[in-house]
Assembly symmetry: D2
Homo-oligomer: 294 residues x 4
């Protein structure tokens, strides 16, 4: 299939490479052009502008960092005007519900399909085509890109007929991840104060009641206090909680855990931990209890 791929961060690069290897005709674009080099070597064409990547494509996939990047690359970049009528845009980014609504209207106005397909998983998982992908959009639009999604994901999960359905699943899921980390942060601070190490406590929990990847992976980082390099930066987690609170705000859904997370993440950022791993949230709980001075 003739594809445009916009946004070549760690995740986007891995995803685009999967599509190139699967034999699709992929034209890529990235704000800083050097990120396109490895893709070019795999056989992708490199576009000079987002619009050029989109021109003539049956499907445009984008993996951008946040609302602002979407506005700049896609909207200011002229992607919607460049895409052929009837083509489908698959947005993999985690963005605000407000922007999702705006994009739905804009794509409709341009005669384009719009599919929200946010992903769960890290770059190595993406490179293997093993992501978990929540997919929301009109069945006809989804059908056109189903093969691409199947190439990218081990689990392609239909969230509903609206892009909003998939977007909220990602926002709610990221909230649950941060909440799991905070619960480990408070729990291990408590056990440490009574003589049980975080490694021991999380070792038990992560092998029994909480034997799930989130607890095992983030728990290990907390236990080892290994917050750098970040797998997922704390500042991004803070942004995502903001998306959750804003989504709750718009739909009148109070979220007290999200409010606590917001404040604790903000405190971590004020302390200089924004570029550490999200699990550095555990530093806040430990510092409040002055564990290190005991």
């Amino acid at each position: 299939m003739k594809i445009g791929f916009i946004g070549l961060g760690a995740m986007g690069s891995a995803m685009a490479s999967v599509l190139v290897k699967a034999g699709h005709e992929v034209t890529v674009w990235n704000r800083s052009p050097q990120a396109a080099q490895p893709l070019a070597e795999l056989g992708a064409r490199v576009a000079a502008t987002p619009a050029e990547a989109a021109a003539g494509a049956e499907a445009v996939l984008s993996m951008l960092a946040n609302d602002q990047a979407v506005r700049e690359a896609l909207l200011a970049g002229g992607v919607l005007e460049a895409m052929p009528k009837g083509a489908v845009h698959v947005n993999h980014a985690t963005i605000s519900m407000a922007l999702v609504g705006e994009l739905v209207r804009l794509h409709e106005a341009h005669g384009l399909g719009y599919v929200a397909a946010p992903v769960f998983g890290r770059p190595p998982v993406a490179a293997e085509g093993k992501l978990t992908i929540a997919v929301g959009g009109r069945p006809a639009a989804v059908a056109k890109v189903q093969a691409l999604l199947d190439a990218l994901g081990a689990k392609v999960w239909p969230a509903g007929d609206k892009p909003e359905n998939a977007a909220i699943v990602k926002i709610a899921g990221n909230f649950m991840i941060a909440a799991a980390i905070e619960s480990m942060a408070e729990a291990t601070t408590l056990t440490r104060a009574y003589g049980v190490s975080a490694a021991d406590f999380i070792g038990l929990m992560g092998s029994t009641l909480f034997a799930a990847p989130i607890y095992q992976n983030y728990g290990k980082l907390i236990a080892e206090e290994r917050f750098s390099p970040p797998g997922f930066a704390l500042a991004l987690g803070h942004k995502d909680i903001g998306l959750g609170l804003a989504a709750g705000e718009a739909a009148r859904v109070p979220m007290p855990f999200a409010g606590v997370l917001r404040d604790n993440l903000l405190e971590a950022i004020a302390a200089g931990a924004g570029e550490l791993d999200l699990s550095a949230l555990a530093q806040v709980a430990a510092r409040r209890a002055r564990l290190d001075e005991r």
Copy 2:
């Protein structure tokens, strides 16, 4: 081994039956005597008082509901006076850290061993001897009851040389369970407001990032709004969060998630949900957002 077993609720009965079947000489006591009948049929002796159950036992195991029950059955019941010097008391109950400290001192004064061995697991799991058990106490005392613990648990986990080490693991673990439920409550309220059902959302999370028993089991109850009969009563969960907050208070560990849980559980109890399952915490989040009126 000659054993006294005190407290025959659903959990205690299941655990005592495992020990009887394993060939131990078990004398049981329960406040309401009818609960002892099935054990008697299996071959246990039935004592008329807690002290009688403890007299001559090498080990006394107790599984009581809360601090008050421990004070009444064990302390007022004369168990410590009745136990032979050098015998070991294994306390399976979830009790306050303050009472743990008091019991440590009392057992020492009576020349008795004291092992805290709180358990994770429901009655059917207990009946199969497959509990997860955190064990804290002096190595010599633990050694004397190791065979009993191995009979009761699939995972017998050494928490440390002090009973406090095991007690805090149970309190912290129960806090994490309640936090996981609240995070699902808020997340599903949010997704429902945007058109994704709790069943769908939890189905995805519970089979990927959160593929752990806690999320799967409680998540199913939330999705099906099946809060009765309770697997674990909400009022007990509220009591356990109180134990966590008190433990944090005594050790100067702030716990903002626990504070939110306290209030939400209290709101649930005020609304009459104390005897529903702990997962009924999800009703609070949904009611605040008036989901049912949409």
Copy 3:
């Protein structure tokens, strides 16, 4: 002085009337023109557009509802282009810190003075020229409009050399008002549960330790459950807490009380109380405790 006045809600109308009566040459504009009628009868000129109100004015005062109204009336309305170079814009609205920063840059680019002058007080107070006004801006700009501010306020308080200084004072002050209401809400729910009425409790507090207007006025509304008509609508209070949280976010200031307020106000709005008085926040606390069912 030749003045343009933009925005004739209850507050703006009262303030504009003070200036007309003080002998200034005032041209007014409002989105819905009928609000200008009473001013016209007092001697004001009525402009057809915001730009017309601003044309030739030495000072333009604006009292608009929120960020959006400022963007529409002032920015889209061409006010900055219409004002003579060197003229001063006095903004009385409570707006986001982000928009304050944007307005500072825009006025500078247009060669205009910019003074933030948010007010505390209700319409009857405004009509008497007895407002409390926090004033922020360059001394030269403030000096040009000092006489106008003195006519409007009983207390004209210099907050600093930057418009941001005054803007944050208003946002922080409104947060404190909402916090005072929530503290009365929780306290009276507690006393009522133990047999002391809200009227009695607030009567004591408001005449002793908390003998201040905020506690007396809002306290009276809480005690009498008289939430309609609103003196200050709950939905506006919710908006203001959002401004506080956003200001804290941008400056990395965690605000846990503001987070609680956000959720409680959102719950009130979900329950249909958005157009009631801000003191209806007390309904949330009472409802959670099911006071009415006791």
Copy 4:
């Protein structure tokens, strides 16, 4: 009147001296006897035990620090047994609602009157007989001690026919004080981050909307960061919030502001601020935002 007075801390000493000067026949007792010396010089008799102070008294007044002190001095001290039948005990201490209930039952069993009369005010105010006193108890019991209360208080406020009515008023009032301090802490942290000093902001608020003693007095301490010597120790404020949470717990009243206060006060205590003034709560907010590093 023949009076026993038990507990001669700063408050108790000041109150007892008022009664001696008013001509009453006062026998005092204090745990550390040296505190009784100044009272003896004023003409009070000094008892060797609490029971001796109570023997033969028409009224016993007590001003003790907390639940534990009440249990030790009054209950273990044999005061109820020593008091003549029909005499009245006036309890000025701030104690738990659970202990209030217990004392009500005990006094009734001993044929004694029981009046709860918690006070608002600092020692210098007490020495002038200008306290605010909430009074709860049976009218007949209150009538017997009305003259004493009138001597001690500028405002003697009837809270209801039950001691609980007065006790909850004190607990709720102390909660409101701590909430006012936290709201100033967050608000001034925010304004400082935008260039407005705490002194300036609180100066404005305390002279307008919040022109009440609590805001003015604690606000001044916050602005001057003058947290030592303590007027009211932070650790006591923490204890009082615990009483409020426990009272809410027993009556099923969620109190989210109290939960935040609990955590923030605990964090302050962990940081070593327990013996500073309650207003040192402001250090927590400032430290979280790292204001001092900007």
